[in-house]
Amino acid sequence: MTATAKKLGDVMLRVENISLSFGGVKALTDISFDIREHEILAIIGPNGAGKSSMLNCINGFYHPQQGSITFRGQTRSRMKPHEAASQGIARTFQNIALFKGMSTLDNIMSGRMLKMHSGIIASAFYKGPAEREQIAHRAFCEKIIDFLEIEAIRKIPVGRLPYGLQKRVELGRALAAEPTLLLLDEPMAGMNLEEKQDMCRFILDVNDEFGTTICLIEHDMGVVMDISDRVVVLDYGRKIGDGPPDEVKHNQEVIDAYLGVQH
């Protein structure tokens, strides 16, 4: 299996003693873990464990009250999502956050927003630099489109696409940014077996071919155990497990959490 065959790089992103709460409600309590270069890290846990909140902290949508996040050596306190994006962190969402009014192609192109620089004036004239830029990036996006096998729906507004395809397009948009760290929030939620297999394949390929580091949230244990190099387990906003799949699988606390033993 690819995952085990691959050697892990050093720490890319370090989460240290993160605590987050809305009003009185504690969403995350004193969480720490690492994400290493080239690995696939899975965050699992029962509903409301704080998984999504964790991702939201990493890409700057939420601002934890305590703790620090260090990405590639630089520690940040409060940062805006678009800053995270410009650092090379891309993500997809639990409930799809595509631009419904735009075509598949435009959605993916919009993923390269940060890499395109032609301004209002140039774009207004279009001919010349703006067009050249468009073409160049279009070429790259077409690669992604081929890779995700969605050539057929290029020009269709994503609003009209079935759920599974939308998930794919969203992945495509994230990839278009050529991220160094890719956050996937339940990429296979609500998919049938076949779709899931496709999605797994894409994720692994991305990880292999582009060497992208991936941190994903997933409920399907089977999938998680298959594709991830490491697993972090959250429960009630606390970290209760961290390690290779097999190890975590036998962690008593984790089992309790999933079987719902009283705390």
């Binding site: 809305f22 939201n56 949508f61 639990q94």
Partner: protein, 294 residues
């Protein structure tokens, strides 16, 4: 000093009238999440019918219930012809739809009753009252207006306590939930719009007997918008207090700041006031804060 008080009081009184119009907005927004731009047109509409009926020789006590019926019918029509077909649209679409409704009512009312100024006298005194041996002047009419607005407010608050009122709030919180517990959304909407219609009628009668019933009244609705921003779209006390602040604020501004700009700043001051406020507190005085999630 006396003059300042005089202006302040005058402003507060004017504010009461704004609140009356703003109330209608809030009621509908609370219950159906619709920003009803047509409220102003409804004010004119109600006033036109009321005064029209009276001109036809009916007594006030006959004209009043008749106009109420008209407003209920209007509410029904709006639900039937407009809202029902736009249920799951985003708010802004509904907002634009109500702009359409507003235009329609404007034209409809005038094509029935014409565009002449109509004098509406419901026997409220208009002569000035002097306090502090003539230093401060209060307009008797405004006192009455305040009184009416006050009692209307009380009535609304009481209404909130009734079962229907609770139903309304249920809808406000969550449409699906409300429906799932078996509250027919459409009925609720008709009720709300009827109530808004009544508020419009009251506002219309007050404004009408103050300015004479005429098309220009519609433009007063615009004055209620800054009130809403200030008070928050969902809060009845907000509408009242917002109205008072705007009323007093703009009158004082007109008199104490206006002269430096050559006067006539009333038209926009309310907006700028509300806007400045908005930047500090986007959800308004009493509006709920929104937490966004992904």
């Amino acid at each position: 000093m006396a003059f300042f008080l005089e202006v302040l009081i005058g402003g507060l009184m004017a504010g009461v009238m704004y609140s009356l119009v703003a109330l209608g907005f809030v009621l509908i927004f609370k219950a159906s999440g619709v920003f009803n731009f047509a409220q102003g047109a409804m004010v004119l509409f109600a006033a036109l019918f009321f005064v029209g009926f009276i001109e036809l020789g009916l007594s006030v006590w006959l004209a009043l219930p008749l106009t109420v019926l008209v407003m209920v019918a209007l509410a029904w029509a709006v639900e039937r012809l407009v809202l029902r077909h736009l249920v799951n649209q985003e708010g802004i679409i509904l907002f634009m739809a109500t702009i359409g409704v507003s235009y329609f009512l404007d034209g409809f009312g005038q094509s029935i009753w014409g565009s002449n100024v109509r004098q509406l006298d419901i026997g409220l005194p208009t002569d000035p009252i002097f306090l502090m041996d003539g230093d401060i002047l209060i307009q008797a009419f405004d006192l009455w207006a305040a009184l009416v607005a006050g009692s209307l407010l009380v009535a609304l608050v009481l209404f909130q306590r009734t079962s229907v009122g609770r139903a309304l709030r249920a809808v406000a919180d969550d449409h699906q939930a409300a429906q799932s517990v078996g509250i027919p959304l459409n009925t609720i909407w008709i009720i709300v719009w009827s109530i808004a219609g009544l508020v419009a009628l009251v506002a219309g009668v007050m404004w009408g007997s103050k300015l004479g019933v005429q098309p220009a009244i519609v433009s007063l609705a615009l004055k209620a918008l800054p009130v809403l921003i200030l008070g928050g779209f969902t809060s009845i006390p907000g509408a009242i207090i917002g109205g008072l602040i705007i009323g007093a604020g703009e009158k004082l501004a007109e008199i104490y700041i206006g002269p430096f700009f050559g006067g006539g700043i009333e038209n926009w001051f309310a907006y700028v006031l509300a806007l400045g406020f908005l930047l500090i507190r986007p959800q308004g005085l009493f509006g709920e804060r929104i937490i966004e999630r992904v």
